[in-house]
């Protein structure tokens, strides 16, 4: 293909992508600058296609250009119909460009209908009398009255007039007069008018223009285009180099240990180390793309969908320049699009409902992206109706995902997580075009596949925020290397929380067995343990070291301890996919080549946790629930925290309602509004004695005084927490709870036999309502 044609295609595609966004934006925030930019794009395509002999393209862009020039000159006002027409034009241009790209011709499609449509829009009848230009669509340089502070324009400089005012060179009134003069037909620039009116020194015009130019993000022309395949190859080579570097480093260390190496090799290998690291960072950077590349499609998506659903939605973007590796950008494109569609389709209400709820008719969809601790955070928030927890529960029960009993006991937070459960919605694919029937489980799976996580927060009536955290790159990750059964395994550092080593006595007595499951008490929290050699079915290498190494890991919001034989070091590893034969093993995420040239498997932490059943997986448990549930029985397998209250009575608290377990000193207790409370994580945590509230004898007094330690179960709902004081924390068990005797006491579901002992089962919500009525009031009012 001719070089010029190729360049024309690339350039036009780039401009069109921007155009989609700008057109929609323009409908919401009319701006002469943007209109001029859109005009320019179409104008350029038209001009160039004339040279290249693309008659059809020239014909449709020609009518588009005419329409745009009248809009730009304020002779026509932009409305939804014109915007739709212009978007259709953009689509038409894209199709012709695609045809040119594929076979060099403009294709067979007939564009007369589009040309007629655009011409019709350009009829003077559509213009409001045509005399008075609409304020917001005044001439190019006359936009001094625009806010300029508008978020979507944040990267554009202020208009000339405002710049001059800001620099103290002229008065706002003078600028206003100049703008008014321009509107009434003065063809001169704002600067000219001001100078001639003696309001601005001629020298200041130059200064202001310079300042304005400086404020513009300069798109330096020293960019070159590189084939993506080339970059992928480079990245692969860098991966191999990292491996070779690791091998050389290890070799040098071994040799140095044996005293066999001279200083020259040591310093050279260190240099190699540094250069490799820099090279790796550099190459990785070339593959980075701003997330705006994906986002640029959303305004169009949102607009089209909003029009279809009869809604009004304004999309805002923050952090468009946040960069991500190309592969990740591609991997999140579909899930993100899906979430955005969902927000419009299900999140934001129709204008009538919004007005009835006292909200502006136009809904707001905010996309945010930012870097945080080596990860990229992407937020999608809407100010829509929020998730209706009760409806979700009902739906989950109908679909057989959870039992009625279970649903009733779920906290709001748990219930909102239900939308991620497979089978909650009916859609099978993220790319499902209708956008109906959520398919959030697929979204979640996709995000997790690339090492990311999805979190959802929602408030009924106020909106929903989805936060996605994803790694910057997938190719090279920091990992902890551990050994078990003589083999090495790499654990991605994102999952790693801490390392615990138990020696001597601790190793013998530190591990407790509860209901057949081994746990370790880590700072008052019971940490379920998983023995790696058991999960992988390998023999523990016999050694005289009786220490126990626990790698504390995070999987799916839960923590667990992975017991390994040895902990080596953290290392940058290059992730290589597993062969077909091993793909089915959920415990492994991939493989890597270690410094000594041997292969090590990378553990899939979530996979290991699921295999060991320590992850509180809603979907698995839900299945158990429905299987266990007989007609009319109240069987329900759930995780329970067992505690002693009063003088030796036993109480079970559903673990789902437990946020944390804390030991708090009574010296910290203060009184807030007549209630004992402590300062906890920058908040006030009210403390309530369960024994006292339920009328058991022997309750530990919750008051400051001589120093004692209180055992506190922290329960949270929304952003509020309450501390439930028990006498002693006993255990965490997973049991099928059969309520033998419903309790007349409010706050207690009833009694059940747990671990062969009669145990009261706490109804956390009812209890909190009883003990601290304000808790819920404040939650809903917050």
């Amino acid at each position: 293909m001719d070089e010029v044609v190729a360049e024309f295609l690339v350039e036009s595609y780039e401009n069109l992508d921007r155009l989609d966004r700008e057109l929609v934006d323009l409908e919401q925030n009319p701006s002469a600058d943007k209109l001029a930019g859109i005009f320019r794009t179409i104008h350029t395509i038209k001009g160039t296609s004339g040279f290249l002999g693309y008659g059809k393209l020239e014909a449709i862009t020609h009518v588009g250009e005419n329409l745009l020039s009248r809009l730009r000159d304020g002779e026509l006002a932009l409305d939804a119909e014109i915007t739709s027409g212009l978007l259709a034009l953009v689509d038409g241009v894209r199709r012709i460009l695609a045809a040119i790209e594929s076979d060099g011709t403009e294709g067979d499609a007939d564009w007369t209908a589009l040309v007629e449509r655009l011409s019709a829009l350009n009829r003077p009848a559509a213009a409001p009398a045509g005399t008075e230009p609409v304020a917001d669509e005044s001439d190019d340089e006359s936009d001094a009255d625009e806010s300029g502070a508008d978020e979507s324009e944040a990267d554009e400089p202020l208009p000339f007039g405002q710049m001059a005012v800001q620099a103290g060179k002229t008065s706002p009134a003078a600028v206003e007069r100049a703008v008014a003069a321009q509107r009434s037909g003065d063809p001169r620039h704002i600067g000219e008018i001001l100078v001639e009116a003696g309001e601005l020194a001629p020298g200041d015009v130059v200064d202001t223009l310079a300042a304005q130019a400086e404020a513009r993000p300069s798109m330096a022309d020293n960019n070159i285009r590189v084939d993506v395949g080339q970059l992928d190859k480079l990245m692969n080579l860098v991966g191999e180099l990292v491996l070779a570097r690791n091998q050389i480093l290890q070799f040098t260390t071994i040799q140095t240990g044996g005293g066999l190496v001279d200083a020259g090799l040591v310093s050279t290998s260190q240099r190699l180390n540094l250069i490799t690291t820099e090279l790796q960072a550099g190459v990785m950077k070339t593959r980075m793309q701003p997330i705006g590349n994906v986002w640029s499609k959303f305004p169009r998506v949102v607009r089209d969908l909003a029009v279809t659903c009869g809604k009004q939605v304004r999309i805002e973007m923050d952090g468009r320049e946040t960069e991500l590796d190309k592969t990740i950008i591609e991997a999140i494109k579909d899930p993100l699009t899906h979430l955005v569609r969902n927000a419009v389709d299900h999140g934001i209400e129709n204008p009538e409902a919004r007005r009835a709820a006292g909200k502006p008719a136009e809904g707001r969809l905010l996309l945010r992206a930012f870097h945080e601790s080596g990860q990229v955070n992407i937020e999608i928030s809407d100010d829509g109706a929020g998730l209706d927890v009760e409806r979700i529960k009902r739906k989950a029960v109908e679909r057989g995902i959870v039992s009625l009993e279970h649903a009733e006991r779920m906290s709001d937070r748990e219930a909102t997580q239900l939308i991620f459960v497979a089978g909650f919605s009916t859609a099978q694919q993220v790319t499902n075009v209708s956008g109906r029937g959520v398919g959030m489980d697929v979204v979640k799976t996709h995000i997790e596949k690339i090492g990311g996580s999805v979190d959802l927060q929602s408030r009924l009536g106020h909106g929903t925020t989805l936060r996605i955290k994803i790694p910057l790159t997938l190719a090279i990750i920091p990992a902890l290397v551990v050994t078990t059964g003589g083999d090495r395994y790499a654990i991605p550092q994102v999952n790693l929380l801490e390392l615990v080593r138990l020696d001597g006595d601790q190793a013998r007595s530190g591990i407790e067995t509860i209901q057949g499951a081994r746990v370790y008490r880590l700072r008052g929290n019971l940490l379920p343990l998983v023995y790696l050699h058991e999960e992988l079915g390998v023999e523990m290498a016999s050694g005289d070291d009786d220490a126990i190494n626990i790698v504390v890991l995070q999987a799916d919001d839960r923590q667990f301890g992975l017991v390994v034989e040895g902990v080596s070091d953290t290392e940058e590893i290059v992730v290589k996919p597993l062969g077909h034969q091993l793909k089915g093993l959920s415990a492994f995420a991939g493989a890597t080549i270690m410094g000594d040239g041997r292969v090590a498997l990378i553990l899939d932490v979530l996979g290991v946790a699921q295999q060991a059943r320590v992850v509180d997986e809603v979907r698995d448990r839900a299945l158990v629930d429905s299987l266990d549930e007989g007609e009319g029985s109240h069987a329900n397998r759930q995780e329970l925290l067992l505690a002693e209250i009063g003088d030796g009575s036993r109480l079970a608290i559903p673990l789902r309602a437990v946020d944390r377990l804390e030991e708090l000193s009574t010296t910290l207790i203060e009184r807030a509004g007549g209630t004992p409370a402590v300062q906890y994580r920058d908040r006030i945590l009210p403390l309530v004695s369960i024994a006292k509230t339920l009328g058991f004898a022997g309750a530990t007094p919750v008051e400051s005084g001589d120093e004692r330690l209180l055992q506190v179960v922290v329960h949270s709902a929304g952003d509020r927490s309450i501390g439930l004081v028990v006498e002693r924390i006993l255990d965490i068990v997973e049991e099928v709870v059969r309520i033998q005797r419903p309790s007349p006491k409010p706050g207690v579901v009833g009694s059940a036999v747990i671990q062969s002992r009669v145990t009261e089962v706490l109804d956390v919500d009812a209890f909190v309502r009883l003990a601290e009525p304000a808790f819920f009031l404040e939650t809903t009012a917050a």
């Binding site: 070089e3 024309f8 320019r40 001009g47």
Partner: protein
């Protein structure tokens, strides 16, 4: 002979650049008016530019703004400026000529069109 092609479209710069090279110019490119102005200034000392083909509608500094800036600086007296327009802008060509442009070309133009204009301007072809 030195020429500069000022256009925000890379494809257009390539097109016009080819044309001028074919006619016998050495061609520099600029993506907007201010870039062109910098480039023109840089070359003043060594190898001054004799011809500028300037697009009308560009971001940053438009074609007409470039013409105004060039004409306000006497050191560019030897520079011939040809405005590149389309028929939608034709009505405004007089504005460009008033501002100091020497000639104009309407898109799409051919090599002969360009040669014709250059002859009008007295540039050796």
């Amino acid at each position: 002979m030195q020429a500069i092609v000022v256009d925000d479209s890379r494809a257009m710069r390539m097109l016009m650049g080819r044309l001028l090279k074919d006619i016998g110019f050495e061609v520099a490119e600029a993506g907007d008016g201010s870039e062109a102005l910098d480039s023109l200034r840089e070359r003043l000392a060594g190898n001054p530019v004799q011809l500028a083909l300037v697009d009308w509608n560009m971001p940053e500094m438009s074609g007409i703004e470039l013409v105004e800036a060039v004409r306000s600086d006497p050191s560019f007296a030897g520079l011939r400026i040809v405005m590149v327009t389309t028929e939608t802008e034709l009505s405004q060509v007089s504005r460009a000529l008033d501002a100091g442009a020497d000639e104009y070309l309407m898109k799409p133009f051919t090599r002969d069109d360009v040669v014709g204009k250059l002859e009008l301007l007295g540039l050796p072809v």
